[in-house]
Amino acid sequence: MTSVTAKEGTQPPGAAQRAVISVRGVEKYFPIKEGTLQRVVGHVQAVDGVSFDVRPGETMGLVGESGCGKTTLGRCIGGLVPPSGGKIYFRLSDEDAARLDVIDPIPEADRTVEQRKQVGRIDANHRVDVLSGKAWRMYRRNCQIVFQDSFSSLNPRQLVKDLVGRPLQVHKEASGQELTERVVSLLESVGLGRQHLYRYAHQFSGGQRQRISIARALALDPEFIVLDEPTSALDVSVQAQILNLLHDLQKERGLTYLFISHDLGVVRLMSDRIAVMYLGKVAEYGTATELFEDPRHPYTEALLAANPDIRSEESMMKGLKGAVPNPAKPPEGCRFHTRCPVVTPACGWEVDDSVAWLQTHELLAAGLADVQRRSNFDATLVFHDEESASAVSQAIQNGDMPPAMKAALENVSTEGRSVQITFFPVEPVELEDIGDGHLTACLLQTERRHQTWPPQPSADTSSRTAANPSSASTRNSSTR
C-alpha cells in the first residue's frame, strides 16, 4: 500500500498503481553565506530526507508549523527549485520503482553497466529535476501550483484573460477566439464568468483571486496540482467555498493534489493521507483518520492539542514549550526532543541542550565564559570563576536539570573553573512502520523503546513504557 520509507528499498509489496509523484529521500539545503567573499559557512536544512508517494486521484496533505520545510518541499516537487539531494519522480511505474528500490542502495561505483543504463533511462523520462526538452514540457503541463498569496502570484498588469490564457498560449493550445472561449469555460468551472475576462487582479476579492489562480492552474488540464496553503489568506466562509470548489474539481477531473497547510482542520478534511513535518523531516505519516484518531508521535499530539476545536465541549488548548530550533543546526537524535513532553534519555540530548538549560537560569548563565565543543555530545563549559562552575555541577546533581537530560549524561566532571559534560551519543531517529502503513519517527513507538539505556537500564525502560500508553490514551479520549 504505502511507500513512505525510512530508507529507500523497503517498499511493501502489492503497490497497486504507479505513483503520480514519487519523492525519494529529497533534501534541500540553502547555503548560509557570510563575509565580503560570501563564503559558505553552513546550510539551512530546509528539507532533509523526505520520501513519500502520491497516488492518482488522492490528496496528500503536508502539515507543519512555519519553517518546517513544507513549502520548500512543494516547490521542489513543482520543479521551481532543484533539490540538493534525493530524487523526485513523475509517473514512475511500479516496475521502474521496484528497479530503483534494488539499485538505489548500491553505491554509484559498484553498479553494473546494465543498472546504470536503467537508472539513466528512468531518470531521463521521469526524474523531475533532470527532465529536459519534451519530457520537461510534459511535466510542466501536468504539474501546476496554486500559491498561498494570490496578490503576489497574479501579475497586477495583466487582464484575467491573459492571466488564465497564458499557459494555453505558451503551450500553443489555443489562440484568438478559441483562447477566449477556453478561458471563459475555465472561469466558469471555478465559479466566475465571462464578465470577469477584462478585469485586473486587484479588482477582485481574495476568494475570487484564488479562484483565478485555480483556473490558471487548470488551464492545461494537469494531472497533479500542488496547493500551497491555498486558503490561509481567506476568511472561513470564503475558505469553505474554495475547499468545496477544489473537491468538486478533483472529482470531475480526477486530479491529484498535494495539499500543503498549517491548518489541521483543513488538512484533515481535504487529505486522504497526511505527512506531518517538523524541521525538514517527516515526523509521522498515515491516513487522515489514523493520524487524527490515533496520533503516534508527540509532535502530532501537540499540534492536535494546540488546535482549538469549535465543536468540542471541553476546552483543551495546550501549547508547546520553547521555539523551533535553528534549522541550520538541527538537534541530534529526534529533532523534536527539545520540546517534547514525553522525552526520554535516549532521544538525543546534546551539548546545546545543556547550554540552553543553563541560559534559563540567569545566575548560572552569567558565569559562563566559553563552551569548548569536541563534538555535539561532548564539551567543556568554562566559567569565569570556580564558584559558578561548582554551582552548575551542583545544579546538575541535585535535580535542577530535567531528569531525562540528566539520565542522558555519561559523565560530568568539574575541574577548577571548567565543567566537562559528556552525553551518550545517539543515532538519528528514522521513520518506522508501526503497522498498516502508519509511520512514525518516535522512539516510544518503535522497537528501540525496548533497548536498554546504559546508565540505569531498569528504571529507564519502565519510565519510557509508562510514558507511552498514558500519552496515547489521553489523546484518544480527547479526540473522541
Binding site: 469553505a240 475547499l243 468545496n244 472529482k251 484533515r268 488546535n307 469549535i310 540567569e362
Partner: protein
C-alpha cells in the same frame, strides 16, 4: 422580550449585570472618506465590557472590528477617518471606586488621551514583527512605557528630594543640553541609578510574561527574537502599567498553533492575576470560544449578535453566526460538503438602510432589503439583529433557519 431601541435593550442588560462596567460603547460610528463616497466602516456599534471579563469581537476581514478597537484609543487616522458619532464611555479603576462619571474617550482632549493610552487602556497588535521598532533594543521599547506613565515609580528609590533635572529625565523630557549635563558629575551617578531602576522595572515586566532570561532579552533587538518571544515582549509592554482594559487585536494570527496556545494561556493567566478586562478581537471562532466570556459577532460594520459564549455557540441565532460556525472544517464534515456562505462582504460605501447580510443570507426576504433590523433580546444576555426573530408584526418568521444548525 422585544425592545425597540437598541439603547434600551442594552440598558436593561446592565441592570441585570452583576459586574460593574469598564467600558460602554454606544452607537459608535467611524467612517472613512474615499473617492467613491463615505465608507461606513463602523456603523452604529454598541456593546459593553464588564470588569474582569473577556469580550470577543469576531468577524471576517473588513467588518470593522479593528477600527472599533482602535477607536478606543483614537488610533484611527483622521483624515481620512471620521468619528461620525456615538460615544465610548470608560470607567477607570479610580472612577469606579469613587463612583464618578465615566469619561468619553472620543471627547477628551489629546493630552488626556495620551495619559490613558498605554496606561489605563493598552493594546496588543496583530503582527509582533511590525509592532516593535527594529532599530531600538527591547529594553528601550519596554522602558518607554515606564518613562511615559510611571515616572513616580522610577523616582521612588531616589528619596524625597529629587532634583528637577532628574525628574525630567525620568519623564524623558530632557533636551539635548540636559542630556549632556547628565553625563557629568554630579548628575551622572543619579542618572545611572535612574537607569538601573528602569532596568529593574523592565526586567520585572518581562519576567511577568514568563521570559526566562529577561536581562539577556533586554539587550537584544526584535529581529533576534522569535515571533512568540516578540509577542511576549509586546504583552509585557502592554501590561506593564496594569491597565484596566487590554485590547488584543488578533494577537496570535501571525503565530503557529503551538505557540498560539502558549500565548493565550499567558494572556488569560495574567488577566486573572491583574484583573484586567480584555477586548479580544479575532476572526477565529474556535479561539474565541476557547477564551472569551462573552462574544459580539460583527458583520459589515454592525454587531449582529451578542451573548455569553455558551449561548452564542450552543444556540447561534443570526444566520451569519450560523454560517460562520458551519464553515469551520471539522471531523464531522464530508469533503466537498462544507457549508460555505455564498458571495462576499458588501461594499460599505453609503449603504442603504437594510440588513447588511441580506445579499448573502439564504433566508432574506423583502423587508431585509429595505429596513435596518432592530436589536432584539432573545435570551437573558443574548441579543440578535435579525428579522427572523422580530415577531412584532407577526409576518416574518423563517422556520428554515433551523436547517443551518448542523
Amino acid at each position: 422580550m422585544l425592545v425597540n431601541e437598541s439603547h434600551v435593550a442594552i440598558n436593561t442588560r446592565y441592570d441585570r449585570a452583576t459586574r460593574p462596567l469598564v467600558a460602554s460603547v454606544r452607537d459608535l460610528k467611524v467612517y472613512f472618506e474615499a473617492k467613491a463616497g463615505v465608507v461606513h466602516a463602523v456603523d452604529g456599534v454598541s456593546f459593553d465590557i464588564r470588569d474582569g471579563e473577556t469580550l470577543g469581537l469576531v468577524g471576517e476581514t473588513g467588518c470593522g472590528k479593528s477600527v472599533t478597537a482602535r477607536a478606543f484609543i483614537r488610533l484611527v487616522p483622521s483624515p481620512p477617518g471620521i468619528y461620525a458619532g456615538g460615544e465610548i464611555d470608560f470607567w477607570s479603576t479610580e472612577a469606579r471606586k469613587n463612583g464618578s462619571d465615566p469619561i468619553d474617550l472620543l471627547e477628551i482632549p489629546h493630552d488626556e488621551m495620551l495619559a490613558i493610552r498605554g496606561d489605563r487602556i493598552a493594546m496588543i497588535f496583530q503582527d509582533p514583527g511590525k509592532a516593535l521598532n527594529p532599530a531600538l533594543s527591547i529594553r528601550s521599547q519596554v522602558a518607554e512605557v515606564f518613562y511615559q506613565h510611571r515616572s513616580e515609580d522610577i523616582l521612588e528609590p531616589m528619596g524625597d528630594h529629587v532634583p528637577r533635572l532628574i525628574r525630567r529625565a525620568a519623564q524623558q523630557q530632557t533636551n539635548s543640553f540636559e542630556r549632556i549635563l547628565l553625563k557629568f558629575p554630579p548628575w551622572r551617578a543619579k542618572a545611572e541609578k535612574l537607569k538601573e531602576r528602569v532596568d529593574d522595572l523592565v526586567a520585572r515586566a518581562l519576567t511577568e510574561t514568563q521570559i526566562s532570561n529577561p536581562r539577556t532579552i533586554m539587550d537584544s533587538y526584535p529581529h533576534e527574537l522569535s515571533g512568540g518571544m516578540k509577542q511576549r515582549v509586546l504583552i509585557a509592554q502592554a501590561l506593564a502599567c496594569n491597565p484596566d482594559l487590554l485590547i488584543a487585536d488578533e494577537p496570535t494570527t501571525a503565530l503557529d498553533v503551538t505557540i498560539q496556545a502558549r500565548i493565550l494561556e499567558l494572556i488569560s493567566e495574567l488577566q486573572e492575576r491583574l484583573e484586567t478586562s480584555v477586548l479580544y478581537i479575532s476572526h477565529d471562532l474556535s479561539l474565541v470560544k476557547e477564551i472569551c466570556d462573552r462574544v459580539a459577532v460583527m458583520y459589515a460594520g454592525r454587531i449582529v449578535e451578542t451573548g455569553t459564549t455558551e449561548e452564542v455557540f450552543s444556540d447561534p441565532k443570526h444566520p451569519y453566526t450560523r454560517g460562520l460556525m458551519a464553515a469551520v472544517p471539522s471531523a464531522h464534515h464530508k469533503r466537498g460538503e462544507l457549508a460555505a456562505i455564498e458571495g462576499t462582504v458588501p461594499e460599505l460605501v453609503d449603504p442603504p438602510p437594510a440588513c447588511r447580510f441580506n445579499t448573502r443570507c439564504p433566508f432574506a426576504v423583502e423587508i431585509c432589503q429595505t429596513t435596518d433590523p432592530r436589536v432584539l433580546m432573545v435570551g437573558a444576555e443574548h441579543t440578535v439583529a435579525c428579522f427572523a426573530y422580530d415577531t412584532s408584526d407577526g409576518s416574518v418568521v423563517l422556520p428554515t433557519l433551523e436547517r443551518w444548525v448542523s
